[in-house]
């Protein structure tokens, strides 16, 4: 079988196929290099404090797999569960935080609403005064959330899958998918054709284009998402801070660099050029939260591509073309989902049954109208 895309989703799927189900006749294809797409461009934040029961269960499973990933892969992925704060600057977002906290607690996920004094104790540099444009009313605090070294996750899965016999082909672009009689027969690549009864689309940014090769239409629009990183400084921030109102999230890496991200660019595009407009806006918002960072210098900025779905939930499972599966539509939340998605897709391929964990995320929901609305927790969630 063939997996298109050697990012965390493709590699985790290949790893679970080989490690759990003994399926090793697997080729993972990528037009670039391992982890060169969204898996190497995200801001490496992990959390499970989502809004819908389907979303919370799914991301909680992923977080659990991440917790033991270093041991399982024998690769130091540097998962730091330093806690995750989502700030509320108005009554409606505070209401959403309370809603999320209750949904989370019912699912057994550690998550609670805290006030400005507790936020100040966690992040002393935060401006929690009332003399700001958007005073902080409270936050959703999620202690098991944190950051991880995303390249190590990609390389760890790649090494483990490779050791089990999976073939990983970099610089191998899929240029066509052969379908006959309603089922997939194989793929054509820049290095030649591969016959396969099962093809899984694990791409991010190019999911629509790959699916179109198999004649499958997807409810996806591709938007760039930009991020930036500063010079390294002494450690001052050991929680992840997110503000939906200010469209920003901030964390400090183990090296001391401060990483910023934002919401997706406001129009669809496949361009990965960074823009000064983004940097000015995000820097202004960071300074509203932590004014004392004004003299920090930005080292670099970049963009990745996000496949946005109408309900801010992914699309996983079967398609109208038999044997052509998708694990796509990961918007701005794909990296944190990699292990659970890989585990579930591998189970689907091996058993032919859709695991309960992903039953709500099937492509057919856009025909039946049973959407899984995660916008309240995922739009600038992270």
């Amino acid at each position: 079988m063939v997996i298109v895309g050697a990012g965390v989703h493709g590699l985790a799927t290949a790893y679970h196929l080989a490690a759990r189900h003994g399926i090793t006749r697997v080729a993972v294809l990528d037009k670039g290099y391992v982890g060169g797409g969204g898996s190497g461009r995200n801001t490496a934040i992990l959390r499970s404090n989502y809004l819908t029961p389907e979303g919370v269960a799914f991301y909680d499973r992923s977080l659990k797999l991440y917790e033991r990933l270093a041991t399982e892969l024998n690769f130091n992925v540097m998962f730091s569960q330093r806690g995750h704060l989502t700030l509320a600057h108005n009554d409606s977002s505070l209401r959403t935080m309370r809603w999320r906290a209750e949904v989370n607690k019912l699912a057994g996920v550690d998550s609670e609403v805290i006030g400005p004094a507790e936020i100040k104790a966690l992040v002393p540099l935060m401006d929690t005064s009332e003399q700001t444009r958007y005073p902080i009313l409270g936050a959703l605090y999620h202690p098991p959330g944190g950051i991880i070294r995303h390249d190590a996750v990609n390389w760890g899965y790649a090494r483990a899958a490779d050791a089990l016999g999976v073939q990983i082909h970099q610089n191998t672009e899929v240029v066509g998918i052969d379908v006959a009689g309603g089922r997939v027969r194989g793929v054509r690549t820049s290095q030649g054709p591969i016959a396969a009864p099962v093809v899984v689309n694990c791409t991010a940014g190019w999911a629509s284009l790959i699916a179109a090769m198999a004649g499958v239409g997807l409810p996806i629009m591709t938007h760039p998402l930009q991020a930036a990183v500063t010079e390294p400084v002494k450690v001052f921030l050991d929680t992840v801070v997110v503000s939906g109102t200010l469209h920003v999230y901030v964390s400090q890496t183990d090296r001391g660099e401060v990483v910023f991200g934002a919401s997706v660019d406001p129009f669809a595009s496949y361009s990965m050029r960074a823009s000064l407009e983004f940097l000015e806006e995000v820097a202004g918002h960071v300074l509203q939260l932590m004014p004392s960072l004004a003299k920090l210098r930005v080292l670099r900025q970049w963009a990745g591509l996000c496949d946005m779905t109408p309900d801010y939930s992914p699309i996983i499972g079967t398609t109208p073309v038999e044997g052509f599966l998708v694990d796509v539509g990961w918007g701005t939340y794909g990296f944190k989902a990699g292990p659970a998605a890989g585990e579930a897709v591998a189970e689907l391929v091996a058993t032919g049954r859709v695991p309960d964990l992903i039953a709500g995320f099937e492509l057919a929901r856009f025909g039946t109208g049973r959407l899984v609305g995660e916008k309240g927790a995922a739009a600038v969630g992270h």
Binding site: I220, Y270, F366
Partner: protein, 91 residues
């Protein structure tokens, strides 16, 4: 920065506009079925190349515009008023 040449206001920064989405033909709500309606709502072409879209000049003439744009380079082709005429009537 992307400049959109508004037919009424001249070249303006894209941040003045609201991106509405791909130009799509809306089925008649009185005769359409749920399948066709949901396909209209959700299914997208999302091409990597030239596409035709609707933008709203929110901070300008407040007209809906039909824009041709290349989604890889962000190069903008033709821009016209969505109503098809020369533009809004005189104020």
């Amino acid at each position: 920065m992307i400049l959109l040449p508004c037919p009424h206001c001249g070249p303006r920064n894209a941040s003045e506009f609201r991106y509405v989405g791909e130009l799509a033909h809306r089925p008649d709500p009185n005769t359409t079925g749920t399948g066709e309606w949901r396909a209209y709502l959700y299914l997208k072409r999302n091409p990597a190349g030239w596409t035709t879209e609707t933008w709203l000049h929110r901070a300008g003439c407040r007209r809906f515009l039909v824009v041709e744009r290349h989604t890889v380079t962000n190069e903008v082709g033709s821009v016209r008023d969505a109503a098809g005429g020369a533009g809004p009537s005189d104020p």
